[in-house]
């Protein structure tokens, strides 16, 4: 096959690369022209090169195995997604603003609770949340930051505008895919990197290290930073190991750590070594069997107490998840105004809160046109896609909403933007989202671009890798091409 943009049609959806048949957007013109210039043989060679690159690295993905040691193919699409540097600059500021406001909110919830007194949000919505940790009341983490690593999911609507879909503040994953995608693309299209000014993503691990180092309670040249993993059978273990390796940090399991006199130590061949900062990749409730879930065998007894005493930093802090909730999400624009006295740079997807009587009535009357989500589930579980659901399914969902209105919110179905993927016989449009990663410690940092997830199945909106989703390299392009795009 050879790519022919004339026959590429994304229909009513906003396509990020091709404006209409045969008309690449200015920012993507170079890439589109290059791809169309490849004949069948050259294109096949590129595909093969990508497959080989993935296979070589693919060995790293054998650990994605549910204990079954199955090699899962890494679903990657060759065609990079392009975002203009100018547009990204605004988005980046919007993301930083958002995470700043979220951290102010979390700190307020666990300390003064001004947000309740000033009636910005109903306390019941927060204090009853499964992610609220009463144990964290009165704690003041360094820099007053609770959510140090945030993965915010963005989508573009039918006009191509970025909107925030959700904020992941507990243990967001996927950043290693972002880094690996770039490595593959560099191997396959080295020539494109010469002709485009693509913002590098590789400094993420250094930025992460610096951010974590800024959290060290002991002021010393080389704070001891560790990555705490639930272990090899966790599906994100590859990422834990990858990040530890890139940062030169120890990758520890709960059993490697112990707490004495409210300080955390790891067991090393030279004896016990004091730990300053823990990048924990396990959930709050499993961190410490003394403070939280007594059944947890992953955690470290006394860890929470050491954190409360300020002898160790945890990233993200316990309790940060209180803001990782789809109902709280609907208040983030209000928080930005309230805490920062700024206008939100990035809009939310319009949302209806089922705990509000008027909004709930609207939702129940329009179930066939809305997407209904539970407040506290992740990974796309327990959702109702109104337009696809049967009458019976909608009725059942209506009953659930009435029984527990706090737990649901509804959004109109957004016509997600598309980008081309390399299909069997042609380039075809598919829906995408974007997960940039935002770091906040003493300073803040946003990845240029982020992880693009793509629904490989035609027409599908589901980008999760367990359900037919794949990923793409994401290029934020600056310089001359950007000027063309802007002008």
């Amino acid at each position: 096959m050879q790519i022919d943009w004339q026959s590429y049609n994304s229909g009513a959806f906003h396509d990020e690369m091709i404006a209409g048949p045969g008309m690449p957007r200015p920012i993507a013109a170079g890439l589109a022209g290059y791809l169309a210039s490849l004949d069948e043989r050259a294109l096949d060679e590129k595909k093969l090169a990508a497959r080989l690159a993935i296979k070589t690295m693919g060995i790293s993905f054998t650990v994605y195995s549910d204990g079954q040691n199955i090699d899962r193919e890494w679903p990657f699409d060759l065609i990079p997604r392009i975002i203009s540097g100018r547009e990204w600059e605004t988005t980046r500021r919007g993301l930083e603003q958002r995470v700043r406001a979220l951290n102010c909110f979390i700190h307020d919830v666990y300390n003064d609770q001004k947000v309740f007194r000033d009636k910005i949000i109903d306390p019941a919505l927060i204090l009853d949340s499964v992610n609220f940790r009463p144990q964290c009341r009165g704690i003041e983490p360094l820099h007053r930051v609770w959510a140090h690593i945030c993965g915010t999911d963005l989508i573009r609507d039918e006009h191509g505008r970025f909107m925030v879909l959700e904020d992941n503040l507990r243990v967001p994953s996927g950043v290693s895919y972002m880094l690996e995608n770039r490595r593959v693309t560099k191997r396959v299209f080295p020539e494109l990197f010469e002709n485009h000014e693509i913002l590098p993503v590789t400094e993420y691990s250094q930025e992460l290290f610096d951010m974590l180092a800024s959290l060290s309670p002991r002021k010393q040249a080389h704070p001891e930073i560790v990555v705490l993993t639930p272990g090899i059978y966790n599906s994100a273990y590859f990422e834990h190991s990858f990040l530890a390796q890139r940062m030169g940090a120890e990758l520890v399991e709960g059993s490697d750590l112990l707490v004495e006199n409210d300080c955390v130590y790891m067991r090393t061949i030279g004896g016990l070594a004091r730990v300053d900062v823990i990048y924990r990749r396990i959930d709050d409730l499993f961190l410490d069997p003394v403070a939280f879930n007594a059944e947890s065998v992953l955690g470290v007894p006394g860890l929470f107490g050491a954190w409360v005493k300020g002898n160790v930093s945890l990233a993200n802090a316990p309790g940060a998840g209180v803001a990782d909730d789809k109902i709280v999400y609907t208040y983030v624009p209000d928080f930005i105004k309230y805490y920062l006295d700024e206008d939100p740079i990035l809009p939310n997807v319009p949302s209806y809160r089922c705990c509000n009587d008027a909004e709930r009535s609207h939702v129940l009357a329009n179930l066939d046109r809305l997407v209904v989500k539970p407040a506290n589930e992740s990974g796309g579980y327990g959702m109702l896609m109104g337009h696809q659901a049967s009458a019976a399914e909608r009725e059942e969902f209506a009953a659930r909403i009435k029984a527990n209105p706090r737990n649901y919110l509804a959004q109109p179905l957004i016509s997600l933007s598309t980008v081309p993927i390399l299909g069997e016989t042609a380039a075809e449009p598919r829906h995408v989202d974007l997960r940039p990663f935002i770091l906040q410690g003493a300073d803040s940092y946003v990845t240029p671009g982020g992880l693009t997830r793509v629904a490989l199945v035609k027409g599908s909106y589901v980008v999760n890798s367990s359900q037919g989703g794949g990923s793409k390299d994401t290029w934020v392009i600056t310089g001359a091409e950007d000027a063309v795009a802007g002008g």
Binding site: I59, G231, I232, D256, Y265, T268, I269, G270, L272
Partner: protein, 317 residues
């Protein structure tokens, strides 16, 4: 370095080395027995003894013949089969990938998968020989990658110690097996003059082959292969990298890389003194097997001290 990581690197290496040694043993046994006319003197049951698998083997199989032993030592899901050892090596390697060169992990991973898919043919002789060769080659390659690309840090010290201890142990078992046979030789048979001598020669040649030592031995000892020289070579030679002496030296040399190595160092020194005693006792009948037993007890003590010192550091409630 985390204690857990040190422990897993050490075990990964021991399993890998043990898999390679088992492959060598099986390979050599197949050839040896083809050369020996009288299987009553030396047979597959000796392999059961050398590998120390007596009870677990007997619980699975009635007779110690070629097919059963090949299955048991290559493909069975028992503790001592090559496929189990490679799986264990990989399981340990998987959890310490961040401290090892990627290529080494990939090598272990590939070897594991390869043997998982081919181990079923273990009973068939020609497929088996090829498989055993592959295992030996791949293990050599993995150690080559480690030697060529890994920093000489604490992690590498555990690799070298694990390998050295495993080798010393296996070589001593081979010497033991050979020595026991040597003293159990039948008296010269008037009907078959020269038989005992031929038998001895074949036996010791194969002991050497099992350790890839034949060629080096030949360069070192320029006379007909005989028990006394072979035992001396495998136990005491300084230069040959599989000899007990050389491997104890290896452990002694890496120790300065590790903290708190006093106890292990003194146990290694004691094992070396034990080894010296066996030099004097060499062909004193029955004394050698006893000496080898003592040596093996020393090796076990070194292992225990390694575990005590670095894998289970003090502290904690």
């Amino acid at each position: 370095m985390l204690s857990r990581v040190a422990e897993r690197i050490y075990w990964q290496t021991r399993y890998l080395e043990r898999a390679e040694n088992t492959a060598r043993l099986l390979n050599v046994f197949s050839n040896l027995l083809l050369d020996l006319p009288d299987r009553t003197i030396f047979g597959w049951d000796d392999l059961v003894r050398i590998t120390g698998i007596g009870e677990s083997f007997a619980s699975q199989y009635q007779t110690a013949d070629e097919t059963n032993l090949a299955r048991f030592l290559i493909s069975d899901p028992c503790d001592v089969s090559i496929s189990t050892m490679l799986a264990m090596a990989r399981e340990n390697a998987r959890t310490v990938r961040e401290v090892m060169p990627t290529e080494a992990f990939e090598g272990i991973n590939e070897l594991h998968y390869h043997i998982q898919s081919t181990a079923g043919q273990a009973a068939e002789r020609s497929a088996r020989n090829e498989m055993l060769e592959e295992i030996i080659e791949n293990c050599q390659r993995i150690f080559g990658v480690l030697a060529g690309t890994m920093s000489r840090d604490a992690g590498y010290a555990f690799i070298r110690m694990g390998r050295a201890l495993e080798r010393a142990d296996m070589v001593s078992r081979m010497v033991d097996a050979g020595a026991r046979k040597l003293f159990a030789l039948p008296d010269a048979d008037p009907a078959a003059p020269g038989y005992a001598e031929t038998y001895q020669s074949i036996l010791w040649m194969n002991v050497l082959l099992s350790q890839s030592a034949y060629q080096m031995y030949r360069q070192h000892v320029r006379r007909r292969v005989n028990g006394e020289d072979v035992i001396g070579f495998l136990l005491h030679n300084e230069e040959f990298p599989r000899s007990v002496n050389h491997n104890l030296t290896t452990i002694r040399k890496v120790l300065p890389k590790l903290p708190n190595h006093g106890e292990v160092a003194s146990l290694v020194a004691r094992a070396r003194r034990e080894l010296e005693k066996s030099r004097a006792a060499e062909l004193a009948e029955h004394a050698l097997p006893q000496q080898v037993d003592d040596l093996q007890i020393r090796f076990a003590a070194i292992h225990d001290a390694i575990a005590r010192t670095w894998f289970l550091p003090k502290g904690g409630k």
